[in-house]
């Protein structure tokens, strides 16, 4: 496969991945913040 095309697919997959995991990222973020606060 052409390197440019394959590269474009990977870039677009990154965009999709970000939006697909937004909700779960918010949960991770709240866990990380509460763990950080608790550790202190």
């Amino acid at each position: 496969m052409n390197g440019l095309l394959f590269g474009m697919i990977i870039v677009v997959a990154g965009f999709a991945m970000y939006y697909a995991t937004r909700k779960i990222q918010a949960r991770f973020a709240s866990e990380a913040a509460s763990q950080g606060a608790a550790a202190d």
Binding site: L4, Q25, G36
Partner: protein, 462 residues
């Protein structure tokens, strides 16, 4: 940590950090720390109170050397494609146009924001969560194609010494040995990786140092000698430039370990400049030396040609091609060293992302003794090990595209942070003020565009 003085305790700091996110409605785009004071680390998890062993200047230079180059190996196509004159010019000019601007940018950003995750943390701070995520994604996606190459290269050189490794699954097992050993070295801590890199650098440079030293005794000696030529097509001048760009990229990989480097604000700019000079010399000097022996450029037509050329240059000692043997061993060390240093670099991305809540917190787990991100190392090493049998080639265009996109995000971040956070303490600055920061990215951008527009086919080699 002047920023921490603004709050009564680190707990209050962490809780305010979280409150800032909540008051912004929990929208992911707003989770960036842009609105927080510049000196506050972006990661929500606290920095460990225990002081782990840190990386000093020269081990960092050696680790950077392996993240970028790994020595003279892999540069053969530059000379066979462009000839000695143009090839050496490409190798001399690219550090100025391609590496120095990148080294300056990394010097400034790593001295201003010496955070775990390096380039990911800079982009997230400058451009927000979305682009921070993309920066890490591009690097980790590229690593899948990149990291499978090094064990393969290790086996390539190993097979030259013992064809037994070419039979059955022996090669795969040898590649697995590289992955497991590097994972174990990384689990032992950052200083172990740094010191290993330093020793590997000296050892793999030795045969090329001998090539340079032996040259005055062999001036013009091989002008008329027949040399093996490639059965494949030459990559040409543009291909040579692309291969050279590929050989000169990866400077930002060293930034991900910033919190584990001794005085990173001072150490990074010096390490970057030293590594640029070192890498350039390891590329140019051996080619210059071989040129004076009269060896034709076509002798470099195949990957791994250095071993044959060294064998001719060193001659036989009691029937044994000693210099060829040393170059072959050096090739194995180069592949091993690159994999080892890059495990260290890539494994800090999931760690930093977990701390920022962009990946599961399990990736934030570190060993008690060395604060090594053991979960990230084990998971990434397992992924790379699974790719061993896929037989990837060095996909130069793909690598340059993914790396180039990530690099451009970093140059944009440099300018954005200069505008948005002018008071951010920077122990090193790209010279020339804001204009200098903008201009800094122009040559790398031009080279990237040229390489992508002009390369209508993938350049790859096993």
């Amino acid at each position: 940590m002047r920023g921490q003085g603004l709050y009564s305790s680190k707990g209050e700091l962490a809780s305010r950090n979280w409150k800032a996110r909540v008051t912004l409605g929990g929208r992911e785009k707003k989770l960036s720390t842009l609105s927080l004071p510049a000196q506050i680390p972006s990661q929500a998890l606290p920095i460990s109170k225990k002081r782990a062993a840190k990386l000093t200047l020269w081990p960092l230079v050696a680790a950077t050397f392996f993240m970028v180059s790994g020595g003279t190996y892999g540069t053969e196509a530059i000379i066979s494609g462009a000839g000695y004159g143009r090839g050496i010019l490409v190798l001399l000019f690219l550090p100025v146009l391609w590496c120095l601007p990148t080294a300056f940018m990394i010097g400034e950003l790593s001295s201003a924001l010496p955070h775990e995750g390096g380039y990911y943390a800079w982009v997230r701070r400058g451009l927000g969560n979305f682009w921070g995520f993309q920066e890490a994604w591009l690097s980790l996606a590229a690593s899948i194609f990149d990291m499978a190459i090094y064990p393969t290269l290790f086996v390539f050189y190993l097979k030259q010494m013992s064809p037994w490794f070419g039979e059955g699954n022996h090669g795969i097992l040898a590649g697995l040995f590289v992955v497991v050993t590097c994972a174990v070295l990384n689990l032992a801590g950052i200083r172990v990786v740094g010191i290993t890199s330093l020793w590997l650098f000296f050892l793999l440079s030795l045969p090329f140092g001998l090539i340079v030293v032996l040259t005055p005794m062999k001036l013009g000696a091989f002008a008329g000698e027949p040399h093996a030529t490639s059965t494949g097509a030459s990559v040409g001048l543009l291909g040579a430039v692309l291969v050279a760009m590929w050989n000169y990229m990866g400077w930002d990989n060293a930034s991900t370990i910033a919190q584990e480097v001794e005085r990173p604000q001072r150490t990074y700019p010096r390490a970057m400049i030293a590594a640029v000079i070192l890498v350039s010399l390891t590329y140019v000097l051996p080619f210059l030396a071989v040129y004076f022996t009269g060896t034709p450029a076509s002798a470099f037509a195949e990957d791994g040609s250095w071993a044959a050329i060294a064998g001719q240059l060193g001659g036989k000692l009691m029937g044994f091609e000693w210099l060829r043997f040393m170059v072959t061993i050096g090739g194995m060390m180069s592949a091993f060293g690159m994999f080892n240093a890059l495990v260290m670099s890539y494994s800090r991305l999931p760690l930093a992302m977990a701390k920022d809540g962009m990946m599961p917190k399990v990736f934030g787990k570190v060993t008690q003794k060395n604060e090594t991100p053991w979960v990230a190392i084990v998971v990434l090493a397992s992924c790379w090990a699974l790719c061993l049998g896929l037989g990837f080639k060095r996909l130069v265009t793909l690598d340059i595209m993914l790396y180039g996109a990530a690099l451009m995000l970093e140059f944009v971040t440099l300018v954005v942070l200069r505008v948005r956070e002018p008071k951010l303490k920077r122990e090193f600055r790209v010279p020339g003020g804001l204009a200098g920061a903008i201009t800094c990215g122009i040559f790398p951008l031009g080279l990237l565009l040229l390489s992508l527009v002009e390369s209508d086919h993938e350049i790859s080699w096993a």
